[in-house]
Amino acid sequence: MNEITLISVISLGSLGTIAAIILYMVAQKFKVIEDPRIDIVADKLPGANCGGCGLAGCRALAEEIVKKESLEGMSCPPGGNEVMGEIAKVLGLEAKEQDPTIAVVRCSGSRENAPPKVKYEGDMTCAFAHNLFAGEGGCPKGCLSYGDCVASCDFDAMYMDHKTGLPVIKDNCVSCGACVKACPRSIIEIRKRGKKDRRIFVSCINVEKGGVARKNCQVACIGCGKCVKECKFDAITLENNLAYIDFNKCTLCRKCPPVCPTNAIHELNFPPRRQRPETKAEPAEA
């Protein structure tokens, strides 16, 4: 009995030792030397793998940062300047302060503003409806309201307002850009968050002629050019019957929203105007 135990212990023990030696040698031979800083940087990143930096995920960004040894052109939209600052400290680099950004919905074609003319019964995704027809409201550029953008949001920062049929972006948006890619009509844009979250933008992307656009939607940009004349900072350009406000030039002076005849220019998070009681209704939240 004792003999059997002894033999088995010795044979198994020696087998194990041999295997351990082989494994150790192989591990040494094929060792991948990884920069330990990658782990440190990856730990600092939020770990959401949203793809907002333009790379495959947080680990990929960490590898890229360590490989390039610079933070030039790198950004982590969910982490913001805070995370980039921490990474800069760890690596002894310098991080440029970047203006925080947020996604905005550039369409106000709610059911009230652009009344539905036809009823759609097909697959309830924007991707298919976009290939099929101009949309229930008739605007070929407007929001289709089937919520592909909401489905793409990993941060619970969007929801569909069922009353208006438009997506709403909440303040916890990290501007990862997933919704921008999901929207087949490119309605959503990443813009500068602005001081105190204040933003002014043209909430329309329709490039049809004014009359045609207006027929489908009450709040369409008709390309009249009034806002362009009003702007003293050359921030507004008019192209293809559509005004666009450059957020890098805009000083948030609030001169353009009141002159827009169709209320297509939205201002967000500003205190209510005092001197101008005739100002039109509050713009919808975006």
Binding site: T125, F128, E208
Partner: protein
């Protein structure tokens, strides 16, 4: 009786307008002629606002290889060249002409006499077909001259004429075969001469016995042409299905019928070819079926291209009260219109008015893996898989599963007991995969 082997469905036929003779629709007040009525590059307008045009005059030139000329279907003045909602539901460039009288361009033979002698050479036939803007009249509107030119290194040995009309409700091809059979047969001979083939087969489903009998009586005068009755099955009118049914050849995946020596043309196209070659008449009118269960007089009209669809509906007795959808094309592959003032185009084979109760989709349930979609797919695909892959944006997997072979016949959507929007999702997959492939090949 012959038919294709793989898959297929049997939707109720409902050919309500099959005994209604073709009537000529009165001219509308204005016509709207879209510049993109064919597959390929849109034509470029050669007239401008204020020009007066005659019927049959060239108003837009198709300059690319896959493109087609567009002719004025009426005489009058060009009102504007603007973006107009067409049958696609989007605004597209179109020429709007105000109708004044009915004066035709010189050199167009409007008489009804049958001209049998084919005086043109094959090259001349192809250039005439190109010049007169003939496109496939079955619905896909592929420019016909491209099909009549056999590419280098390939030979065609049989011309297949599609008189199947497998779509339920539609009867425009059926009526054409009955009323314009001789013209059509001459048209087929012209196409045979252009392609240099000595055999042509007309495939007709046997739910049109009168058309089969009529053609059978006439064909002895036209050597080389035969008529083949086919068992009724949808989608027999698909090019690949028809080739399989008639000559038992299989077109390889991603290839054209010419690969197996076949060229397929529609009966409507053959008639248009006859008019272009023998009568010098461009494609400015076509037969359109207006039908539906509530329609007072289901009819077949000859309508000028650009006529508002509303006019056709009016001529058939107006929109019935409980209409839920107006469909451009057949019930299986047609598309609901968002505006009934959209114009008739070269590819409009029928207008369907469906009662509300019949149009609404079934409620969507989960896939129960019954496999019916896979067993009826005439291309041998797996629609349930393609739909899932497409909705998960796995387009490279879509490509390996041959999504590009889908002919969008709608059989899967028709058969699915769970009412899943299979074709909708596959179409997205097909679009995106096509984009991906084009980008890669660039």
């Amino acid at each position: 009786m012959k038919t294709f082997k793989l898959g297929g469905v049997h939707p109720p036929e409902n050919k309500l307008s099959q005994s209604a003779a073709i009537e000529v629709l009165p001219l509308p007040e204005t016509v709207t002629i879209p510049l993109s009525q064919h597959l390929g590059v849109p034509a470029n307008p050669v007239v401008k606002k204020g020009d007066s045009v005659k019927a049959g005059q060239l108003i837009a030139k198709g300059e690319a290889f896959i493109s087609a000329n567009i002719h004025s279907s009426v005489s009058g003045t060009v009102q504007k060249i603007d973006d107009v909602v067409d049958t696609s539901g989007y605004r597209k460039k179109a020429i709007v002409i105000k109708v004044e009288g009915d004066i035709w361009e010189d050199g167009i033979d409007l008489s009804k006499d049958l001209v049998k002698d084919i005086s043109l050479s094959p090259q001349e036939i192809v250039s005439r077909v190109n010049e007169k803007g003939i496109v496939g009249m079955g619905g896909a509107t592929f420019p016909s001259h491209v099909k009549l030119m056999v590419p280098q290194g390939k030979t065609a040995d049989v011309l297949i004429i599609n008189g199947v009309e497998c779509e339920p409700y539609l009867t425009s091809d059926h009526r054409l075969m009955l009323e314009k059979a001789e013209e059509m047969l001459v048209g087929i001979q012209i196409q045979m001469k252009a392609l240099n083939v000595d055999r042509a087969i007309i495939g007709v489903e046997n739910n049109k016995p009168d058309a089969i009998d009529h053609l059978m009586k006439l064909i002895p005068e036209y050597p080389g042409i035969s008529v083949e009755p086919l068992k009724v099955k949808y989608p027999q009118g698909g090019e690949k299905q028809l080739i399989k049914a008639l000559v038992n050849r299989e077109v390889p995946s991603g290839k054209l019928p010419i690969e197996v020596g076949c060229v397929v043309h529609n009966v409507g196209t053959s008639f248009a070819v006859y008019e272009a070659v023998q009568k010098n008449k461009p494609l400015v009118e076509r037969v359109v079926t207006v039908t539906g269960k509530g329609v007072k007089e289901p009819s077949n009209f000859v309508a000028r291209i650009g006529t508002p669809i509303a006019n056709l509906i009016e001529a058939a007795g107006g929109i019935p009260e409980n209409t839920g959808k107006v469909i451009n094309g057949g019930p299986m592959m047609g598309k609901a219109l968002s505006d009934i003032n959209a114009p008739v185009t070269k590819g409009t084979s029928g207008i369907l008015l469906f009662p509300q109760a019949e149009t609404s989709r079934k409620p969507v349930h989960n896939c129960i893996r019954c496999g019916r979609c896979a067993s009826i797919c005439p291309m041998g695909l797996e629609p349930y898989l393609l739909a899932v892959l497409a909705s998960h944006k796995r387009f490279d997997d879509c490509e390996t599963e041959k999504v590009m072979d889908c002919i969008e016949c709608g059989s899967c959507l028709y058969i699915c007991p769970s009412g899943r929007p299979l074709l909708d999702q596959i179409r997205v997959g097909k679009n995106e995969t096509g984009k991906m492939i084009r980008l890669r090949n660039r």
